[in-house]
């Protein structure tokens, strides 16, 4: 009987330091054993528990899309005990991975609709996964136009920079990148994500909005989406809670009667309105 | 608590010593420089003052396999921070009494004053502490074992 608590071993192929402060790193992991890789089929929006033996586990969103074969990307900010150990890990080390866990972005519901992606800070990981999934050639035609609004506090805090500049040049999508406070050689937009969203004002009919970011950004983004005419059923949020088991048993990550690790992390705003606002 | 009667002399105790940077550490340094012989059973942690030693460190040491702990600081009045060792003296008085009361051999936790010029005194204290703890034998009843049986019943 397979044991959901035993992590599969994965090797760290590459570590990319994403921001100037150096406390956000992206880990490129490959499975040590082929049978684990085959079993690990996932879709954008899901997360996994990265496990460092001797330190513990932490839930991190899968930043790579299933279309990127052969490796998995995880972007980790140094915050607690496990993430500090992860940031001390070097290339070639073996760490543990448990997953895929949680539900995915509503890919069927998004088909044939426009997609608006609103991201903030380093919570852009699973959003990157869904963007890469949409931009895949045979997937791109299943979705209409794609608008991305992504912001961070300072230019140094932006993650996946080279991919951002690339997306800006593409014609089959529109990308708005903003920072709260630019520095001297920041030529692009400046301003908070919600205000940029109000200024850009994408059409709301036939559009699904995916939002993921720090609680403060979500608090100000939702009213703007409401003004623009987005109905709660078509706004999807990816939430972050303290998690341990990841399989709906340890009772820690619930919002009302739903477990964020099992029934989430992606919820429609309609669902969240029915649940008590304790998150 | 099975008290292992390992009183034979070949038991080499492992002792942790918190030495205050200004006096005891310098005293230990002097003992080494002047080639005074003392048993190599002591691992040293340098602390700014004997007052900096939190009892949690001492209990943590006993739990992680040390057989005894020595805390050594400046003589009362010599403290670089004026009153560090005075506060420490009160804290250690209570800690020693409490651990002795609950059943830890009093020789396992020892406190001393060694000034920077007392290399000989430092060597003699280490010898005395090592003999005392060798008499007590290895510390088994406080040590954390990694095959701790779970109460799975």
């Amino acid at each position: 009987m397979n044991n959901p608590y035993i992590p599969a071993s994965v090797k760290i192929d590459d570590i990319i330091i994403e921001n100037e402060a150096g406390d956000i790193r992206t880990f490129r992991l490959t499975f040590a054993y082929k049978k684990d890789e085959r079993k690990f089929s996932f879709l954008p929006g899901q997360f996994a528990e990265l496990s460092v033996l001797g330190a513990g586990e932490c839930p991190i969103g899968i930043a790579s899309s299933p279309t990127e074969k052969g490796y998995l990307l995880f972007t980790v900010k140094r915050a607690g005990v496990v993430t500090t150990q992860l940031h001390r890990a070097e290339r070639g080390e073996i760490i543990g991975l448990r997953g895929p866990l949680g539900n995915t972005y509503p890919l069927q519901k998004m088909e044939g609709h426009n997609i608006l992606i609103v991201g903030g800070g380093f919570a852009f990981t699973t959003l990157r996964a869904v963007i890469k999934y949409i931009l895949e050639e045979n997937n791109r035609k299943r979705f209409d136009d794609l608008t991305i609004i992504y912001g961070a506090r300072t230019p140094g805090e932006l993650i996946y920079k080279n991919e951002l500049w690339e997306w800006e040049k593409r014609r089959d999508m529109t990308t708005y990148i903003t920072v709260d406070r630019g520095d001297k050689d920041w030529k692009r937009r400046e301003g908070f994500v919600p205000s940029v969203l109000k200024e850009v004002a994408p059409r709301s009919n036939e559009t699904i909005a995916l939002v993921c970011g720090p609680p403060i950004m979500i608090k100000f983004t939702l009213p703007v989406l409401d003004e623009l005419g987005f109905i709660p059923e078509s706004i999807f949020l990816s939430l972050e809670m303290r998690m341990k088991c990841g399989i709906g048993k340890c009772g820690r990550c619930n919002i009302g009667h739903k477990y964020v690790c099992k029934d989430g992390p992606v919820f429609s705003f309609r669902e969240l309105q029915e649940l008590p606002n304790e998150y | 608590m099975k008290e292992s009667p390992n009183k034979t002399s070949n038991f080499e105790p492992k002792i942790l010593a918190f030495l205050c940077n200004w006096c005891s550490y310098a005293g230990a340094d002097l003992a080494g420089v002047s080639r005074f012989q003392y048993p190599p059973t002591v691992r040293v942690i340098r602390v700014p003052c004997s007052g900096r030693v939190n009892p949690v460190y001492i209990i943590k040491a006993l739990q992680n396999g040390f057989d005894g702990v020595l805390v050594s600081g400046c003589h009362p009045g010599d403290c670089h921070y004026i009153s560090g060792n005075f506060f420490a003296r009160r804290k250690f008085a209570l800690l020693k009494k409490f651990l002795e009361y609950v059943g830890v051999e009093p020789e396992r936790i020892q406190f001393s004053w060694v000034s920077a010029a007392e290399g000989v005194r430092f060597a003699k204290i280490i010898e005395k502490v090592t003999d005392d703890i060798r008499k007590c034998g290895p510390l088994t009843y406080f040590k954390k074992s990694n095959n701790s049986i779970e109460k799975v019943i």
Partner: protein, 327 residues
Amino acid sequence: MKQAEHEIMSNVERLFADKKIDLFIGYEKGTLPLRTSPCFIDDRNTVRRLVWNSCCSNNLAVYLPRLMLHRKGKNSKRIGILCKGCDSRSVVELIKEKQVDRDCLYIIGISCSGIIDSSKILSELDGEGILSYDETSDSIVVELAEGERSFPKHEYLYESCCNCAYATPTVYDILIRTVQFAPKVAGPDPNITAFAHKTREERWRIFEEETSKCIRCYACRNACPNCYCKECFAEQTKPRWIGVTNDRSDLLFYHTMRIFHQAGRCVDCGACVRACPMNINLRLFTRVLVDEVKERFGYEPGVSIKEPPPLATFSLNDKQEFMTEPD
């Protein structure tokens, strides 16, 4: 006892009427026989809930640090609190440690003649349903299905109350003198001295056996007014001092350190002993520090606000007989 109750109620009513306090912490009737429960009164007309009898066991000072934190900055009036002798000593300790300021409190002191240990009576009744209980000046009368039984109070007191030296509160704004029945003269506790005379191995076996009953529920820590740390050493993760399991050595570590953190601060109110669901006799180990501090530094916690705590001060000629001298 009834007369003291009325005095408390009238005082609290007057305090609310004069707008001196906006919250009063007292005791209300418990839902279990021989038990009362802390209650928080915030307006005049619920003052009727307050009770006073020999089963008011909880130390109410435990709520003050978190209430102070909660009220910082808001210009709220004073907090009223009912204090027995030991509770008032806990309040003095909290004031001394800057967790509570004196002018934020309105203390109604009540001299106490010892609190009944309801588990002693209940275990004698062997789970018999108690319909109701009443109290005379020196005994508890319990009404059972088939008749009444009376229990003389001084035989069923908590150990801390048996040799309590501070039946009258050390700090108060109003003092209510109940009929004074003095507990035995405060002297060394017989079973503590009996424990002290055992051999070292025997004492350790008892210490290990008592702490091995612990299930890490932290009731002893959360019931103690002195344990107000925001993050307790037992739950720290950076660094992690002790393991989270109920491994024998972690339990020894936890209890050794939690008890030692009360050195020179513990007023021996017995709240930890009452709170422990596994009946660990914690007082057997906490009491030694209270006696040692009294004997070595001549200090008794919770008596005077101005006297500094023993470990926060020192004297040049503190005894140092325990120091190691090379022979």
